[in-house]
Symmetry: C2
Subunit: 337 residues, 2 copies
């Protein structure tokens, strides 16, 4: 597959799966000490990538949680963030300044901090109470973080006598490296066709919901805008009908991200609508893949990982078709601001 | 002022202020019964308009709250939403189907429900445990809801022995009708200039943060997209630097929404950046107004109302300059979907 190394992907993903034992130790220790709430924090990509964990907790647990932007948290100083809070965040390089700042702030008010990093010796790794290390790259980061965030969330729930699916869920996470590799292979041609068709498209409307909303937001912003300089709007499927709907035109490109959780009907509704009024509708649907070894009950939980894997192929082919490297930035970490 | 009736505005806003006594009764009764968490829910505009209440609670209270989209809540069925929950939402017409559904769902799982509606006899008003009525129109709805949401949130905090600013805050809310009318008058010319300059602009990037983020999102979606069919992206100021920044071009229109809460420096940072790389930057800043009678300490709290009042003038002048009525819809409540 263009721009992709199978072995490297499996090694990164298995690295994440192998971290589950360590994640369990950390969570068990934190639960033993007791806590009041979880703060799921991130910056750009990681704010989006942690969003399926928020959805997992929302739909399966009574644990109090907040899902917020790191830099805003540092400024806003939430009253509920303090002793008794556990902050969970991530940064591949471990150098994202806003993420480091929020971990330092959280510690200063008495919270515990758990970070997922590519290098535990990075500034973020050093700043946190618990650094869980797994080296990764941009093209496998989303799924390896999903896997670890999910394992962590599931452990919190299990320790709270919730989430009876725990054992099956963890077993499922462990086979996801191979499952996702197969999705990548199966989606490669479709992604290439999308990239060829849309190499000159100037604007896309991305629509998603539930546990794939984060990836909808993330792909639009962190890939199309950041790496390909293509304008996007990402809009939640339920919100679409309350404003953005009026932008629908025959030639408006809609990219619908469908997963298999409870909110799927919200995206179905958008799909039914835009198919009537636009000629340019693309659906990336996790249901298109067999996901061998994943039970019917588990499919909805892993949807965000499947979505990310589908869309990574789109990134790769857009790079090739547009002759625009995914590595070029005009501003980010290029100029001072 | 074009498309605006001073007397009607004052009457709607004073109607909201006069509801404070009733809001207090409702909140006091709910607090007496006890509760575990608040669910701040909305649909499109109201999801955005309730967002400053979420920020108020976040920064001043330890009350557990969730701020979610109504339709997603009905599907996702959050585990924390049930007996002990209080749902707070609104709909001007009282006929927004997703909002009615979420109130019915919340009641079915044992939650209490409080709604702000234009007509207590509407389906939403009838469905809720407590309906607080104030008739309004699209051009004053945001502020009249802010006023009532704020009064409600402040009362919850006061009853929780938080928010020592309570008395001054409520006194401030009561003078806001006159204060906001003056802001509208002072901003009218600037809004007209913006509308003239941008009558043919095809795309705007809206940036905001903190308690004015909701209005940033709302104005882009519910006015420019819904009422003027102009494409937008709204992006949180902290998130801007992690993807969307790469879209910056000399001719990209940036509209920055600045309030006076703790997150203002996040928008300052975007302002500094885009002023270097774009020639088309407009800032709507609450600091430009004297807000007579509002103390320095209270200014940050009322920023969302000031922002909404500034932007309403922009809506009105865009309608005039573009010859595009704010009332026309091609799809919403026009076709079936």
């Amino acid at each position: 597959m263009y721009g992709f190394e199978n072995e490297r992907f499996l090694s990164v993903m298995n690295g994440a799966a192998n971290n589950i034992a360590r994640i369990n130790e950390v969570v068990d220790e934190l639960c033993k000490e007791g806590y009041e709430n979880l703060f799921l924090l991130g910056t750009g990509g990681t704010y989006a990538i942690i969003s399926p964990l928020a959805y997992l907790l929302k739909t399966n647990s009574k644990i109090t949680f907040y899902h917020d932007i790191a830099a805003e948290t540092v400024k806003a100083k939430p009253k509920s963030l303090g002793k008794g809070s556990i902050v969970i965040t991530a940064s591949l390089t471990g150098t994202t300044s806003e993420t480091i700042e929020v971990v330092e702030y959280a510690k200063s008010v008495g919270a515990k901090t758990v970070v997922f990093v590519g290098d535990a010796k990075s500034p973020l790794g050093q700043a946190a109470d618990y650094a869980i290390e797994n080296d990764a790259e941009n093209d496998n980061l989303v799924e390896e973080l999903h896997l670890q965030f999910f394992a962590l969330g599931a452990r919190f729930m299990k320790n709270n006598n919730e989430f009876p699916e725990y054992e099956e869920f963890i077993s499922t996470l462990k086979i996801m490296p191979e499952v996702l590799l197969k999705v990548r292979e199966e989606n490669d041609e479709r992604a290439e066709m999308f990239a060829k068709k849309h190499k000159d498209t100037k604007f896309h409307m991305f629509v998603g919901a539930g546990n794939t909303w984060g990836e909808t937001y993330c792909f639009a912003m962190c890939v199309l805008e950041e790496m390909q300089w293509i304008a996007t709007k990402s809009i939640h499927a339920a919100e679409f009908f309350h404003g953005t709907i009026e932008m629908t035109e025959k030639d408006m490109s809609f990219v619908l991200i469908k997963g298999e959780d409870e909110t799927r009907p919200l995206v179905d509704r958008v799909e039914n609508f835009v198919n009537r009024y636009s000629d340019v509708v693309q659906v990336f649907d996790t249901k298109d893949y067999a996901l061998e070894g994943v039970s019917e009950a588990m499919r909805k939980y892993v949807s965000p990982m499947v979505t990310a894997t589908q869309l990574e192929r789109v990134s790769a082919h857009l790079e090739k078709e547009r002759g625009h490297s995914l590595e070029i930035r005009r501003y980010y970490r290029t100029v001072e601001y």
